[in-house]
Assembly symmetry: C2
Homo-oligomer: 237 residues x 2
DNA sequence: TCGTACTAATGGTTAAACCATTTGCAGCTG
DNA sequence: CAGCTGCAAATGGTTTAACCATTAGTACGA
């Protein structure tokens, strides 16, 4: 439950002070920290120690460091980049398999679809229909449209996630998709028949969402993901 | 898709070389890197630069650094700690509401229960029953057993997550529970009647899991979480 | 008006020294 | 001999001071 205490590490103290400031809102995204030579005075540490702290904060995704005059440490808008990186590391160390990723996604897409049905605005619904039309067009293009279809499919899923209004779903699903595409691109299902089935699923989901039928959206999305996981696993074997 | 290239940063090069070694398996978990004063020679950089690289690797969770003779940088077994930290930062920074956390959890618990029903071993089932018995005892203790009941409830949910055999579920749920307890402890439902209902739900879920009834387990777990989210939201209002 | 070159601010790197922590061993003591 | 004490050495942690590299702004000249 608790993390081990590492004592007498000055840079850790610096990291925590800045991090707390960001979380508390004292340090707002976009604003700049003082220059290293100033900061080291304020913290009462050497520049080397301060820089180790800044490296840690950078790795956590909390700041971005630019060189040159008017450069320096800029507080970042927090995003899911670091989460993605860590997921990627886990995956590459074989701790997380394709099956794990897919199962995880299955767990979430149902909830996302239900929330999207509940909270989507008119403009969101319009976007869904637009993406659906795009997908259909890519499908008609035959083999050369397959990759584009898969991209559109993903955009549609991410649009649903954004409609859920839940940043956790958005960030985590972003990570999952990023890692699936980076490390398992080849296992994504292709082929006329299977993509047609995929499209039919999407159409049904979008219809349920636009009709604000939460339970139908949940069931359809879950079933859809589950079925396509099976296809991927067959391909993996 | 691609990350921005940051040029002329020597420490990044060091990070990548070591990280690649770990991923490729050349550097195995548990093994030690040479001392800083040796490493800096091998990489041809100064000690300060090398240390910035080590700080980054440490923050990524790839190495652990110990002081003293026989200390140094030890390659770590990759685990979910960093993922949890990132998720925690996202949660805190986005000022994610209790509702967001709860919805997210709702999305996952169903999948977890279904997988647990599918993959649980005999000993896992035994643990579930043991935890259920404990929970019942805490319930009988009245008001003073409430906190203990909630802990047991959480342990039961984590046991289910572990039974799923999916490291992603395990890591993410760990982080979600940790953050709920850290920031929303006061909103957790208490009271004789409500905890009794909670217990009944748990009993039903465990029964479904031990009978390997995936769909029942999924439905029960999802419904359970959803219902208790409503209670929490009422309390929040 | 445009472009070139200089200037200054800022992060990136280096070097050498010293501090702090930890392990293990030598030697002392009972 | 058993066990404690304290020192020595290895290793990470920190400091200092200097210099290199990159970049935005500015002054100046074609």
């Amino acid at each position: 439950m608790f993390k081990h205490v590492k004592q007498s590490r000055a840079y850790q103290d610096v990291v925590e002070q800045i991090q707390d400031g960001i979380i508390a809102g004292t340090l707002k995204p976009g604003s700049q920290l003082p220059a290293e030579r100033d900061l080291k005075e304020q913290f009462g540490v050497s520049r080397g120690t301060l820089r180790e702290a800044l490296r840690v904060l950078e790795q956590k995704g909390l700041i971005e460091i630019r060189t040159g005059v008017a450069g320096g440490s800029i507080i970042r808008e927090v995003n899911s980049e670091q989460l993605s990186e860590n997921l990627g590391l886990l995956i590459r160390n074989r701790t997380v398999s394709l099956r794990d990723l897919a199962e995880f996604r299955e767990g979430m897409e149902g909830g996302v679809a239900a929330l999207a049905a509940q909270r989507g605005q008119e403009q969101d619904m319009a976007l869904l229909k637009k993406l659906l039309t795009e997908a259909e067009e890519h499908l008609k293009e035959g083999r050369k449209g397959w990759d584009a279809f898969i991209r559109t499919d993903e955009m549609l899923h991410m649009a649903l996630a954004r409609m859920s209004g839940n940043q956790l779903f958005i960030s985590v699903l972003e990570s999952v998709y990023y890692n699936i595409h980076t490390y398992y691109e080849n296992y994504l299902s292709r082929g006329k028949k299977i993509l047609q089935e995929n499209f039919n699923d999407l159409q049904a989901i979008v219809t349920a969402v636009t009709e604000r039928n939460e339970e139908a959206a949940r069931e359809l999305a879950q079933g859809h993901v589950r079925r396509f996981n099976t296809y991927m696993e067959e391909k993996e074997a």
